[in-house]
């Protein structure tokens, strides 16, 4: 998620109620369980319903995907070092555990996140 989050690790607050109320929208940072390994949590950004994406490892051209109903397309901000929906496709909404809304560390980035 560079450069949004630091390589040394940021501390963020997440809101577990937003996914239950359906308040997840385009551009939100979300905490979710990996569909490949349920013991791993991922933090990715939600994209819109029609996605144009670039996967540097498999193709030099942009590709287009349509996201099914009740699913989300998630991408890391650092597209060259992120394993996300470009590899495993759209993920069910039910995997989302929380929405990031505040950053508490490091102090120079303290404040509402976005």
């Amino acid at each position: 998620m560079l450069p949004t989050l630091n390589a040394a690790g940021d501390v963020l607050l997440t809101d577990p109620l937003s996914p239950r109320l359906g308040n997840i929208g385009h551009g939100d940072l979300v905490l979710l369980r990996s569909p490949l390994n349920p013991k791993i949590r991922l933090m990715k950004r939600v994209e819109g319903d029609n996605v144009t994406y670039f996967d540097a490892l498999h193709s030099k051209a942009a590709q287009v995907a349509v996201v099914p109903k009740r699913h989300v397309w998630i991408q890391g901000d650092n597209i060259y070092a992120s394993r996300d929906s470009r590899h495993f496709g759209p993920v069910p909404y039910g995997l989302i555990e929380g929405k990031v809304f505040f950053r508490v560390w490091p102090p120079d980035s303290f404040g509402l996140d976005q």
Partner: protein
């Protein structure tokens, strides 16, 4: 003054009990109703019959299995629907990640992807399960059903083998 301290003590007790209850139900065990006939005859065996028992079964759901996501064939699990995150389903695990599984209704053989499993209701004629939406991520699972706690005549442990299935060939 005695009345206000009495009320304060009651309030503290209620708040403490509430916090403990929420913690237990979120992390350890909870009791939920099972609706519909997709798991008949394991749950709701009379659902759909003309005699129409209108009461739902209540089952005990344990959540210790979510620490390692270790499941076995035949485990009955509660999971968030991949089609609607506000609904939960109760089904039986039929295949685990990496295994090859032959689906019965279209005679196809597929390999279950990493981190996914295949779930089926015991009553295949009336079940919305992996035959409809494919393998589900293990991370959608919210608990494992271990016991029936209501109605009294069927209190007991849930078997991990599906009931003998009538052959449809």
């Amino acid at each position: 003054m005695g009345t206000s301290s009495f009320l304060w003590n009651c309030t503290k007790k209620f708040i403490t009990a509430g916090i403990v209850t929420v913690t237990v139900t979120d992390h350890f065990v909870t009791v939920i109703p099972v609706r519909g006939g997709s798991m008949s005859p394991t749950f709701n065996p009379k659902a759909g019959s003309h005699m129409g028992d209108v009461f739902d079964d209540y089952v005990l759901v344990e959540k210790f299995c979510l620490r390692n996501y270790k499941f076995s064939h035949g485990d009955v699990v509660v999971f968030r629907s991949p089609l609607n995150h506000k609904e939960t389903h109760v089904k039986r695990i039929a295949a685990l990640p990496g295994e090859w599984f032959g689906t019965h209704h279209n005679n196809d053989v597929i390999q279950i992807p990493l981190g996914h499993c295949w779930v089926e209701g015991d009553n295949t004629a009336s079940s919305l399960d992996s035959n409809s939406f494919g393998p589900i991520p293990l991370a959608l699972i919210r608990g494992r059903v271990t016991h029936v706690v209501w109605p009294p005549q069927r209190i007991g442990a849930v078997k991990s083998t599906p009931p003998q299935r009538l052959s449809s060939f």
